[in-house]
């Protein structure tokens, strides 16, 4: 962990509440991720993980509670302002521009960045040779990397990832995990990652927050989470 270079938390949610349908998908959740940390966010289906990412990223409005980035209240900021402030995110479903070439869409993303770094991102994510290819024609794993690349343009300070390894093979998932760990350390990016692949989560995260029914069930290091009886009962089961 690179952590805490400027003190405080890179991203912090306080008493966050967000209704979904007839219930609270996120219910008075407190989460605080220090600078440079990779934080895993796990929990059973319907625990509120994606909703929490949506609230933090501005995709879903905060119903009550506060979202802070580097100590600054960003709850009222648009998603574009959050991006300019250094926050980026990826999505549960591949969220790219299918008809544009890989290079074209990264160039478009770079036009909004203070420090455009398209060649660097393409190199890091193994997309260099795919520049002219139309995004919809490349393999699924490559599309997932492109999705991540779009978020990494401009070297964001806070990266919110919603199941980046979804649909990838075990080998691709572990490669992605290694890459994320490496990038987070070198680029000093704070990462909050929602992921169902426990191999990925336990191999790269500094700490893990477990959600259940919209509330924080547990928080700790991967070892602490592995040993937590509450977590074992609620989520991990014998797999832990």
């Amino acid at each position: 962990m690179n952590g805490g270079t400027t003190g405080g938390f890179a991203i912090q949610g306080t008493a966050l509440t967000r209704p979904y349908g007839g219930f609270f998908a996120v219910n008075k959740v407190d989460i605080a991720v220090p600078h440079g940390e990779i934080r895993g966010l796990i929990g059973p289906n319907g625990a509120g993980k994606s909703t929490l990412i949506d609230v933090l990223s501005g995709r879903a409005a905060v119903w009550s509670g506060q979202v802070r980035m580097d100590g600054r209240d960003i709850g009222g900021m648009s998603v574009q302002e959050r991006r300019r402030h250094g926050m980026a995110r990826s999505f549960q479903k591949t969220n790219i521009f299918p008809e544009l070439s890989v290079r074209e869409q990264l160039d478009i993303a770079a036009r909004q960045a203070e420090k455009p770094n398209v060649p660097e991102v393409m190199e890091e994510l193994g997309l260099t040779d795919l520049g002219p290819a139309r995004a919809r024609d490349i393999a699924y794993g490559e599309q997932r990397r492109l999705d991540l690349a779009l978020a990494l343009i401009g070297r964001p300070r806070v990266l919110l990832l919603d199941e980046p390894a979804a649909g990838l093979s075990m080998r691709e998932s572990l490669n992605l995990a290694t890459l994320l760990r490496d990038l987070a350390q070198r680029w000093k990016v704070t990462v909050l990652i929602v992921e169902h692949d426990m191999e990925v989560v336990f191999s790269i995260c500094d700490r893990i927050t477990v959600l259940q029914l919209g509330r924080v069930l547990a928080e700790g290091t991967p070892d602490e989470i592995r040993r937590s009886p509450d977590v074992i009962t609620a989520y991990l089961g014998s797999a832990a």
Binding site: Q80, A88, N95, F97, E104, Q105, A109, R111
Partner: protein, 337 residues
């Protein structure tokens, strides 16, 4: 100025590099327009071609909106008609010199479309189409009801001046010369749109069309580019309406009716909107089919309908799209040989 706005401005200023082939094609297209009247000879055919080119320009506006914003307008006759009424009313009341009136007749509908666009482009899919239909019909109703201003259902003759930009007014009323003018303007419009879609602004609007949410999350405000695209397509429709008004010297509520918007959409579907010139090709086919079928039966719209069904089933990308696809295949097979 926000960074998004600055980047948009930069996008507009950074003209894309155009190949020599692009300029050559433009020159050839213009030259064909100048040569065609001599080849065709028949005034009747030239009249039909002039109508087709004006209709084609309206369809190009509709097709551009489909291509760049991914939405269908059922109300582009509004901008066509507002332009026609603008020039008619300005000349009727002798408010401005004709040249200034021409500029205003293009600026008013474009500005109105931009302001409206800021609201309606936020609405997706069918709802957007229905809103455009409602707006178009509102203009039509106004033209019908505001007797004192528009002379209602009867419309009015436009008192055209003797000269226009130093040329005799007959230049815009005789098919031999008006065809050349309309054709040249259509070629320039398509070329201008080609430059636009290849510019950073064009790429951005394509990205927004593809995935608006992702565009927002990489930092773009998406409403302004979409509204600008809508206004640009309205400008093209307004230019068509202006040419129509000058050519016919008459304007009535028909130019605002949804059936005209529907016809333009049919032209765009027949020709295909993926290629900028597709709707113009669709317009030529539409007008000639209408003329041929009209000589055979009063039920000519049924033949247009059958054509639309055949094209959408067999050539989803339209006739121009299919021709381009065929050309691509031939080039590939030629390359392999």
């Amino acid at each position: 100025m926000s960074r998004a706005t600055m980047n948009l401005t930069a996008g507009r200023l950074a003209a894309p590099r155009l190949s020599h082939l692009s300029w050559l094609l433009l020159a050839v297209a213009v030259a064909v327009g100048f040569g065609l009247p001599a080849v065709v000879g028949s005034v009747l055919v030239l009249t039909l071609l002039t109508q087709a080119v004006i209709g084609g320009m309206l369809a190009v506006g509709v097709g551009f909106l489909i291509r760049q914003n991914g939405v269908v307008s059922f109300g582009h006759a509004a901008w066509y008609g507002v332009s026609a009424y603008c020039i008619g009313l300005l000349l009727r009341h002798e408010v401005l010199p004709v040249e200034a009136a021409l500029v205003l007749a293009l600026a008013v509908p474009t500005l109105m479309a931009f302001l409206l666009g800021l609201v309606i482009v936020r609405v997706p899919g069918v709802a957007f189409s229905m809103l455009t239909l409602a707006v178009g019909q509102a203009f039509h109703e106004f033209a019908m009801k505001a007797q004192a201003v528009t002379n209602g259902d009867d419309g009015f003759a436009i008192p055209l001046p003797d000269t226009l930009f130093g040329l005799p007014i007959s230049t815009v009323q005789q098919p031999e010369t008006m065809f050349v003018l309309c054709w040249t303007l259509l070629a320039l419009v398509i070329f201008g749109l080609y430059v636009t879609v290849r510019s950073p602004f064009g790429r951005l609007t394509e990205a927004i069309r593809e995935n608006e949410e992702r565009a927002r999350f990489i930092g773009y405000k998406t409403v302004l580019p979409r509204a600008a695209t809508y206004a640009l397509s309205a400008f093209v429709a307004a230019l068509a309406g202006l040419l129509f008004a000058l050519y016919n010297g008459f304007v009535s509520p028909e130019v605002l009716h949804w059936t005209l918007s529907g016809s333009a959409l049919i032209m765009a579907v027949i020709g295909g909107s993926k290629l900028l010139w597709g709707p113009a090709l669709g317009a030529v086919i539409f007008f000639f089919l209408k003329d041929l079928a009209g000589n055979l039966t009063e039920h000519w719209p049924a033949m247009i309908g059958v054509t639309v069904i055949v094209v959408t089933v067999l050539m989803p990308a339209g006739i121009a799209g299919s021709l381009a696809e065929l050309g691509g295949r031939l080039r590939k097979s030629g390359g392999r040989a």
